[in-house]
Symmetry: C2
Subunit: 193 residues, 2 copies
DNA sequence: GCCACGATGTTGACAGTGCTTACATATCAG
DNA sequence: CTGATATGTAAGCACTGTCAACATCGTGGC
């Protein structure tokens, strides 16, 4: 309303505004509804349809943004890891992202990504490539494809399990510590004595 | 309708019938709606509320059933693994379950399990214990908690990533094979040449 | 400077959802 | 047979996603 009042009939950059409030609601844990996003943006319920084909399109745009944010977290102040423990830190960062922005994480990975024609696939691919490169750098002797999938699965699975309440950690630091030690334990495991 | 016609006003075992049709719709990939379940069971839209407090309760019951089915898959014709490759088979079974019944798998793990008072927690705990015991048996020298979480995370993460279309496999056998080799690769990895 | 036009936002409406409240029917104890 | 109780029903509320028709704005051709 204030936006409408200030800007008049036209909003200026409604698409960005919608994404921003939607992301905000997501982080705040509020359940996500197109109408609610429109309401909170101070715009009519159908206005979003000028910018997003349907609800899924908005979600996809958010997911793409989330993937870019995740990639930023993973690369911030960091070279590619060279040791297992540096690799573990990368994994911990992944898990922490999921814990810090659970709803967004679920949006990013919780349902099939049927985006043929989107920036979202590209963003997902970039994350994929980063993880693959990191794993391959630390374990040059192993099949990079197998290991990349395994390593990604490891941290992704831990993140999901935490998110789903299947595992308990009293604080985020606790969880991070456990993720780290589990990661290291797996990569250091030796079978049968 | 036939049920109503045959049995008259009362259904006999509506609770079980609702669970059955709901599970059926889930497997068939149809989107899940309480009303649709009631409709397909041939009963009024509000009848389910006699048997389930709300939609979540029905979902929880389905999830519990799914967890029991998963546990059955994991234990069918199988002793506790003693080698890494036997452990990998267990992991492959986990992934295959997710691929075979994707909607159910999502229901089981896709949202917080806020069931204080349910059989669902028990079923989840049994799965957890089985995996922990399996991992601990194969890797007696490692911290069992760390390794169990890591191992579970590994297969769970791969399952999620496949489900979310983040990875491609042309057939279920392909996927199983890749899950197996990734699992083995991770547990055999040696850092830095 | 004016004005039609396309892009943008609004109104109103429809079908579908979860859920509650008040009511109808069947089953079983006495 | 009768009435309490378990079970299913009908009507309705608040909400959702989506569509079609209309209103408004700002910009380019004259």
């Amino acid at each position: 309303m204030s936006a409408t009042a200030k800007r008049g009939y036209h909003h200026g950059d409604l698409r960005a505004a919608l994404l921003a409030t939607a992301m905000g609601m997501l982080e705040r844990g509020e359940p996500f509804s197109l109408r609610a996003v429109a309401r909170e943006t101070g715009v009519s319920a159908t206005a979003p349809y000028r910018h997003f084909a349907d609800r899924e399109a908005l979600e996809s745009a958010l997911a793409a943004q989330g993937l870019r944010d995740l990639l930023a977290d993973l690369t911030r102040n960091r070279e590619l890891p060279t040791t297992v423990s540096e690799l573990a830190e990368l994994g911990v960062t992944y898990v922490e992202f999921a814990l810090r922005r659970p709803a967004l994480f679920r949006l990013m990975f919780g349902s099939e990504c049927d985006d043929e024609n989107d920036e979202r696939v590209r963003a997902a691919a970039e994350v994929h490539e980063l993880l693959a490169a990191a794993v391959a750098g630390v374990f040059p002797d192993s099949d990079p494809i197998d290991l990349a999938l395994g390593g990604w699965g490891l941290v992704h699975g831990m993140a999901c399990l935490y998110l789903d309440g299947k595992l308990i950690g009293s604080s985020m630091d606790d969880v991070a510590a456990q993720a780290r030690s589990s990661f290291i334990a797996v990569f250091a495991a030796r079978p049968n004595g």
